[in-house]
Subunit: 137 residues, 3 copies
């Protein structure tokens, strides 16, 4: 563990998820864990969806999350902790339903955090920590 | 570390804390760390407390956190990072006092994050990352 | 990894960053990772900056973060995941610019989380998880 290999950081990038809109990587792997940046409902092709329903926005944000996981050789079942930032706590039930459909049987730790607004007028942003065998020393 | 054992994920569940109200586990252990879901002031028996004072709500949320830690064979002294979401920054001093009484000498890293609202009208939600020897490979 | 050494937690403290204003440590190191508490734009000498511009406040919060990293024998390039809480999503572009100048080439995972208010009337708070070789077993 204390060797230099243990210290390697891996930057993840995939065109199958929205490109970073600022100074961040889509995800960083280190020592068996993957840290995934906050994913907004920007489509992989860069088009926006802020005029769509909450459910559509949630789907797109989750699609970005899953695409980044896949690029890192991970699956939804590798998620350890997910934080979901939403505008409007009234979307909680809809979020939980869409989220469950997306993750299947796996139930990582989670926090749902209402916020007053999100970038570009979006209603949802999702970040996560996942198991990442590839960066395990 | 790179063996299969290192990759095991442990789901924590205890009846001494509020049952998950959605698609998440109370906590997930992995590779020496425990990821605890956002805990609201729902009592272990499922009864709600949104009509109670901030201090009572903080106590119940912290009780859930401690019960989950105990179930995972951990103690308050194992907490590494705590994030406290509160409605109303004016509750900060009250939170800090209750929190200190609950944690004792141990002072993990912490962020207090004001939010516009929380599920069921609550004033506080707490999630955490803790040291979890049991899942250590 | 399973030995007792692997379980050691290291508390970080430096006078080069704002002292903790409540029941928390500036940072805690454990098993190769450093958990840094939410940093407000309080200067290392304890003086406040809530009357300053967003950019000045962002600089001070980042200075605190970097000073804590340095105390832990880490560098900006060790940051894995940064969470930036801001009051006013309109500050996003200014934040990203200041943040990029501060971090240089390195782009950790990141989430920007708008909040309705922050302690002492501040406009920004930053917490982070970083690579921490010193606590690596």
């Amino acid at each position: 563990m204390a060797g230099e290999d243990a210290m390697l950081m891996e930057r993840i990038h995939t065109c199958a998820a929205a490109a970073p809109g600022g100074h961040y990587a889509q995800a960083v792997g280190y020592q068996g864990m993957l840290f995934i940046s906050g994913q907004l409902p920007v489509r992989a092709d860069g088009s926006h969806s802020a005029d769509q329903s909450f459910d559509v926005q949630a789907s797109i944000a989750l699609d970005n999350l899953l695409a980044i996981l896949a690029q890192a050789n991970c699956q939804p079942g590798d998620l350890l902790k997910v934080t979901v930032y939403i505008v409007g706590i009234e979307h909680w039930p809809e979020l939980d339903k869409r989220y469950a459909r997306c993750l299947g049987e796996h139930r990582p730790a989670r926090a749902v955090v209402p916020v007053p607004a999100l970038h570009h007028g979006y209603l949802i942003e999702i970040d996560a920590i996942a198991r990442h065998p590839r960066s395990c020393s």
